[in-house]
């Protein structure tokens, strides 16, 4: 008795509850279906309808509700209504595709997946690189036919996973630090989050503006810039934690260390991306100088922003 019942389980499950009620009607029930808790036997009229399909799915609609009675149950047995439901489902799917396609034009959601293709080893190595970049020698990125390969396989590629996680952690650590200073309220979390977000947006706009102004032929799209700006949150977290443990001195030491490390990291990372390559360039000396200025200003902006966004958490409001 076990094998036949388990074999027929997928088809039987949907009919089991109804045929229990219509079991006294047209067809015999081969096993006692104890899978449902509160079977309410439908009136005989409904039972007759449900009894017809023996095996396989009920053709009159996707999932006819089988538990309990509610006034709409007759609705699903009506072929017109079920057709309307199927049409509605198709329409919903089309709407979803339409939204996805249009969203793609503005936010590039499929490209975004590339930035989150990371694994633990990459995250560990990248964090180590952010803390101590001075011993790393090879900063170039391998390309796979014009697309950089996924961060999982290439440690020098930018990703958005670390910046997003670091941003959230920074908000939480800021909350903890403010809690130790007895000035934490839940609104502060929102305020800190929006402030940090606004400064990130300002920095992103400034970077993109300078890239456009200086007419640099860099293959840096805005998600890359967002990734590079987001790496500073790692340093900020460690500075806040050091300040928590060792008061002001620890905070400043950690800030100096991570500021220097991040500037070095940014300079080394942006150099292969922004500087014009010697092969397809015929003496753009102005271009090299401009891109060098850009890299240096971006690298110097990082410690300044790190200080600006953390000092008012450590030491109360400065303004």
């Amino acid at each position: 008795m076990d094998t036949p019942s388990s074999f027929r389980q997928p088809g039987q499950k949907k009919r089991g509850k109804a045929s229990k009620g219509g079991g006294g009607g047209s067809r015999p029930q081969l096993f006692e279906d104890t899978s449902n808790s509160q079977p309410v036997p439908p009136p005989q009229g409904y039972g007759m309808n449900y009894g017809q399909p023996q095996y396989g799915y009920d053709p009159s609609g996707g999932y006819p509700p089988q538990q309990g009675q509610y006034p709409g149950q007759q609705f699903f047995q009506d072929p017109m209504a079920s057709m309307a439901m199927q049409y509605g489902t198709t329409l919903a799917d089309q709407g979803k595709d339409y939204v996805h396609k249009n969203l793609e034009k503005y936010v590039a959601t499929s490209k975004l997946k590339y930035y989150f293709a990371v694994d633990t080893a990459y995250v560990g190595k990248k964090l180590g690189l952010l803390i101590f970049p001075y011993t790393h020698s090879d900063w170039s990125i391998q390309y796979n036919q014009d697309d950089p390969i996924a961060p999982r396989y290439e440690i020098n590629a930018p990703d958005l996973y670390i910046p997003v996680m670091a941003f959230v952690t920074y908000i939480l650590v800021a909350g903890v630090v403010m809690g130790t200073q007895a000035r934490f309220t839940p609104e502060q979390l929102g305020i800190q989050a929006s402030t940090a977000l606004v400064w990130m947006i300002i920095e992103l706009l400034a970077t993109l503006f300078s890239l456009y102004i200086m007419n640099l032929n860099a293959n840096l799209n805005y998600t890359d810039c967002l990734a590079y700006s987001g790496y500073k949150f790692v340093g900020m977290i460690f500075s806040l934690l050091a300040g928590l443990a060792f008061q002001g001195t620890g905070y400043y030491i950690a800030l100096l260390w991570f500021g220097a490390a991040l500037s070095f990291f940014i300079v080394r990372t942006l150099r292969p991306k922004v500087l014009p390559h010697a092969t397809n360039d015929d003496g753009y000396t102005k271009g090299t100088k401009r891109s060098l200025y850009l890299i240096i200003s971006v690298a110097l902006a990082q410690p300044v922003l790190m200080w600006w966004l953390t000092s008012h958490i450590m030491f109360g409001r400065l303004f």
Partner: protein, 80 residues
């Protein structure tokens, strides 16, 4: 500073307004920032890029800014 996203939006609208009200003949030509002075070289240079950006912002954002300004003024009148 305790910024919010709304202050960023306000600042952006104000900056765009500032860029859009620079008049081509009366002002920009006088200080040498007119479009006749900006050439189209292979290497446009920083000044030419900035002027190009100013002109594009003016062309694109003039009409939408009218609507946005009206909306912001109405909101500020109602909600303060």
């Amino acid at each position: 500073m305790a910024f919010g996203l709304y202050s960023l939006l306000e600042a952006a609208i104000l900056c765009l307004n500032a860029i859009c009200i620079l008049h081509e003949e009366r002002f920009l030509a006088k200080i040498g920032w007119g479009t006749s002075q900006a050439g189209f070289g292979e290497d446009p240079g920083v000044k030419a890029q900035i002027l190009h950006l100013v002109r594009s912002i003016r062309t694109v954002m003039r009409i939408p800014l009218i609507g946005i300004n009206v909306a912001v003024i109405a909101l500020k009148l109602v909600f303060g």
